[in-house]
């Protein structure tokens, strides 16, 4: 059962990821990214991270990506135009990426026997545990992050209110 679910959503995720890369239109990429996030949320559920799954949907799919879509619409960004300067990156990039992925895979399969398996429900974390450690063990980082967010808000406002000149 787990395996099927995992396989299914993993396939969706990878497919959406690929489509993010190949889509010509930003909106298309955005939607595929949302797809990735949604399937990742499900996979988080499989990993027993309910809270993270929900937050993944709320924050990523619900806020960040909406922001992206909003901006794309606002700027009415069309399909991107090919420029001549992209061939060297392609030329070097594709093999490099292949090597990169290959190495990762190699290392993973080297380590996999030592890592065991994941079974649904073996380890469940609700909002409670997260909240506990968030407000006890990770209190300082939490507060710092809040400050960071505040700063980000201010920065966004300042940047966005700038007029065209």
């Amino acid at each position: 059962m787990d395996l099927i679910l995992f396989a299914f959503f993993a396939t969706i995720a990878v497919a959406c990821g690929i489509s993010l890369v190949v889509q010509k239109h930003p909106i298309g990429s955005a939607l595929s990214l949302i797809g990735v996030m949604g399937s990742l949320a499900v996979i988080y559920l499989l990993l027993g991270a309910e809270f993270i799954a929900a937050v993944q949907l709320i924050v990523y799919a619900g806020a960040i990506m909406v922001l992206f879509v909003f901006v794309i619409m606002l700027l009415n960004a069309g399909e991107e135009t090919a420029t001549g300067r992209s061939w060297p990156t392609r030329l070097l990039g594709i093999p490099l990426l292949a090597v990169f992925l290959g190495l990762l895979a190699y290392l993973l399969q080297r380590m996999s026997p030592s890592m065991g398996t994941v079974t649904f429900g073996a380890f469940n974390t609700g909002a409670r545990e997260i909240g506990r450690s968030l407000f006890s063990k990770y209190l300082l980082p939490f507060e710092v992050t809040s400050v960071l967010v505040l700063i980000a808000i201010l920065g966004a406002i300042v940047l966005a209110r700038k007029e065209i000149d």
Binding site: A10, A49, L108, S112, M115, G155
Partner: protein, 105 residues
């Protein structure tokens, strides 16, 4: 069905690796700033996945906390980054990364 109910951890990690690579690919090959930005988000997601997977593996909640922080930071980053993109577009009238390669217009 035992092995049907047990997915090797390394598969999750492999998935995250693939997604990450895809993100890098998007970063490398796309020319639209927004798309590049989204590729970055994709990489973040991939990393988050490994975090959660490890947190399940180690039976510790910390990995998920990290994911949480990553998300918050990503939100902040998105806010500021998109604002910057807006400004860039206002000033340059373009979204292509190659166009904005120069420090001054």
């Amino acid at each position: 069905m035992p092995q049907l109910n047990a997915v090797p951890l390394s598969w999750y990690l492999m998935l995250s690796a693939i997604l990450f690579t895809l993100g890098v690919a998007g970063f490398l090959f796309r020319r639209n700033i927004i798309t590049v930005f989204m590729s970055i988000e994709l990489m973040l997601n991939a990393v988050n996945l490994s975090f959660v997977a490890f947190s399940h593996h180690l039976r510790q909640v910390d990995g998920q906390i990290f994911t949480f922080f990553v998300m918050v930071v990503a939100a902040a980053e998105a806010a500021v980054g998109l604002a910057i993109i807006l400004t860039v577009f206002k000033n340059r009238r373009t979204l292509s990364i190659d166009e904005v390669s120069s420090l001054k217009n």
